[in-house]
Every structure is written in C-alpha cells, then in structure tokens.
Symmetry: C2
Subunit: 224 residues, 2 copies
Amino acid sequence: MTRDPALEPLTRSAEDYLKAILALSGEAAVSTTQIAQRLELSPASVSGMIRRLSDQGWLEHVPYRGVVLTDAGRRAALRMVRRHRLIETYLVDRLGFTWDDVHEEAERLEHAVSDQLVDRMAEALGHPRFDPHGDPIPRSDGTMDIPDYVAVPDLVTGEPMILHRVRTGDAERLRYIADAGLVPGAEVMLVSREPFDGPVTVRVGGGERVIAHDLAAMLLCVRE
Amino acid sequence: MTRDPALEPLTRSAEDYLKAILALSGEAAVSTTQIAQRLELSPASVSGMIRRLSDQGWLEHVPYRGVVLTDAGRRAALRMVRRHRLIETYLVDRLGFTWDDVHEEAERLEHAVSDQLVDRMAEALGHPRFDPHGDPIPRSDGTMDIPDYVAVPDLVTGEPMILHRVRTGDAERLRYIADAGLVPGAEVMLVSREPFDGPVTVRVGGGERVIAHDLAAMLLCVRE
DNA sequence: ATATAAATTTAGGCCGTCCGAATTTCCAGT
DNA sequence: ACTGGAAATTCGGACGGCCTAAATTTATAT
Ligand SMILES: [Mn+2]
Ligand SMILES: [Mn+2]
Ligand SMILES: [Mn+2]
Ligand SMILES: [Mn+2]
C-alpha cells in the first residue's frame, strides 16, 4: 500500500516534474533522460527526484525502465496543466499578453496561485475550454475536450477548415505564424503541397502562404 | 566596496526578509528578534539569512545591534511592497476577492510575477495609489503618496472625515470593520469617546457604532 | 563590580534540489 | 555467449533555508 500522496504536499519542482512526465506519457513508460531533457536537468537529478516522487506515491518506477504516473500523480499533473493553461488564457485575454510570451509567466504562476484564484480566473473567462494556443484546458475533474485534428499537410486540398491548435511553444515560431494570420479560429485551406515533405501552400485571411512542412505539421485544424 | 547586489538574484525567502525589514525600519536599526517574530522564524535562522543578505549587499549588519537596508535593499523591498499591494488591489477589483483574503495570495504571487505583469496590472487598474486597505502603493521609482492621517480616537468630535486606511492585516478584524461600513472612502465622524482609552462612538453610513479604542486607533482618516 | 537576564550568534543537523563523476545495468550486434 | 556503448543509478559535494541547543555578548539590577 502506497502512502497517501496528499499527505506530502508537492514542491514547486515536483509539480513541474509531474507535469513534464504527463506530457511525455504515451504508450510506454517515461525515461529518465526524456524528463531530464525536457526540464533541462541532469539525469542524476531526475533519478533523485523520481525516488522521492515514487516514495510519496505520485508515480511508479521500474529501475532502468522508466516511470508511470499513478492516478494521484496524473490528477496532480492535470491540475497543474489546468492552472498553466488558464493562466495563459487569462494573461492573453485580460492583460494584453501575446501568445508568445505567456508561457514563462505561467510556468512560475502555476505554482503560486490558490485554487480559489484559479476558479475566479476560470469564471471571469467563462470557463474556457482551450488556451491561446488551442491546447485543451482540463476541467477540475481532469477531463477535457480533445477535438479530432487534421494537421495542415494532411488536409484535403480545397476544403476550408478552421485552424484550432498550434503545437509549438517556440516564441519565434509563434510570432511568425501569428504574423501570417495563422491563429486559432482562422479559416485555412490547403492549396497545394510539394512532395517529399516539401513546402505547403495555404490560403488564409484572403492571401496565400508558403510554409515549411515541419511548421505546417504543427498546425492542427478542425472541420467547419 | 560592496558587491553589486543585482548579481545575486534574491530568493523568495530573501524577498520576504527585505520586505519585513523595510516594514520594521524606523529610527533605529532593526533587530534580529523583530524580524524573527514578524516572519515567524527562529532568531537563529534570521541570523543566518542576515549574513547572506549582508554579504550580498542588501543590508548592513552591526553584530548584536541590528540591520539597516542599503539603498539597493530598500529599492528591492519597495519593489516587493509595490507588487504585493498592486496584486491585492487587482484581486479585489478584478477577481472578486475580499479585503480579508487577499493578503495570503499576494504573499505568494509577489514572488512569481514578472515586472511586465506588474506593469500590466497597474495599467489595467489605472495606476492606483492605494491598495484595498488604503496602504500606499509605491511607484516603480519607489516614491509613494502618504497622506496626513488622523486616527479615529484623535478626531475632533463632530467633524466629518474620510476613512482612508485600515492598519490591520487580521482577517477577522477586517471582516468586522467592513460589516460596520468602516471601509476606505467611507465618511466617518467621531461622536464621543470615553476616557482612559475607553470605547469610541463613531457615526458611519447613517448609523452609530461603538468600537474598542484599540480598533479605532487602527482606522486612519483624512480631511474632506 | 558582579550576578542575572535578554538578545544574538555559532555549531551542528536535516531536507530538498541540483551537479559531476563513478558505477551498474541493459541491450544490440557479433 | 560475449562485449561495447548507451542509459540509468549511485555517490559525494554544494547550497539554501530552516531548526534546536549551546555559547557568547550586551543590558540591567543590585
Ligand atoms: Mn512551472
Ligand atoms: Mn499553452
Ligand atoms: Mn511573500
Ligand atoms: Mn494591503
């Protein structure tokens, strides 16, 4: 029987670890190096933190194999994701931040806000379901809406779609694509596509844009 | 020559120490025990932190005598006070917090917000000069408006005044005086006063209130 | 002048978080 | 089955920040 994780409150660092592990969680267990790279820490540091988090029941660790979040760990991580994305949304909607400079701010504030403040922000914003990058905002119960996306390079040419989510956190890329009018909510249409992952031409805001395949693949659309 | 304090960024704890020392600074140097009591830490811990802060040039320490902030230390402390009070104001004005529950929240957020966010909040609020408790908000350059106050027990009876500042952080007291209509901006008038620091009767919001001398002394008024 | 009390500092420990270096484990290719 | 290299862990050390207990300094009272 693992100890009740609620008894050991999470530190700021631990909160970031859990969030990182959730983001890296796919089919397989998450490796030490993956976490180390994402958080820009040494693998040694990560090994140490993994021990503490596992002792406290936030994750399960199979040595040399990787970690998997426990239910408590996933809930805690989703709580941080909710905070992060709600804060980003609030900063953009209410305080004039741009979508390329909210991440850092949210990365710090997410550890400092109370549940009450998070609730108040959510309410003030009308309980938004997506953040400025189109990332879904988990509800308090951990559920969230994840639409069926089609990446721009995979669109049917000539069929109008709505850009819904931008899968990059890189500030320069974000500025570039915002300049091009490629923001969530924009109507986009695939015009043409060069073979071998070549450049992609999209119609957006009454003009045409040729963008790199890599970048286009980060732009996720939904129908209508 | 002391080292440039800007080279050693302040930790969260250090920021709270500087803020506490500024608040305790009067004529004389601030003693270790004063700081310890205010921050609810042991005097030994304070001694340790004083060494670090003094090594880094934020304050000057005369052993067994107390500390005095350097110019850099006072600027850093005022910066934190500005943050704290602006955050309190924002939470009350924009997010429905009450004046008795903003302090804790601000105490954490003050360490997490960027200068940019502080500026945005100030702008959104129209650069307020006072926080919800009537405490003056330092400007970025460290200056602030400090009106000439008269405490309620010292008022001239029958002369109408404006309640401007409430010198308590105690949540229960704050709720009590808010219930009585004694909030900054309210028109108040001293009706009578019992001798020997006895209870004080004030006229506020069309009614009369009898309050303890101690509490009345925390209510600071300005003319007109 | 001296004893006592109060304030302060020092000494020694603990915990969380990080690092580099050394070691162990795992796996793929022979 | 063996082995070299990659991945992960352990080890030793650092620092911040807190604690208690002991030692030291300063203030005060007789
Ligand atoms: Mn973070
Ligand atoms: Mn986002
Ligand atoms: Mn604080
Ligand atoms: Mn205040």
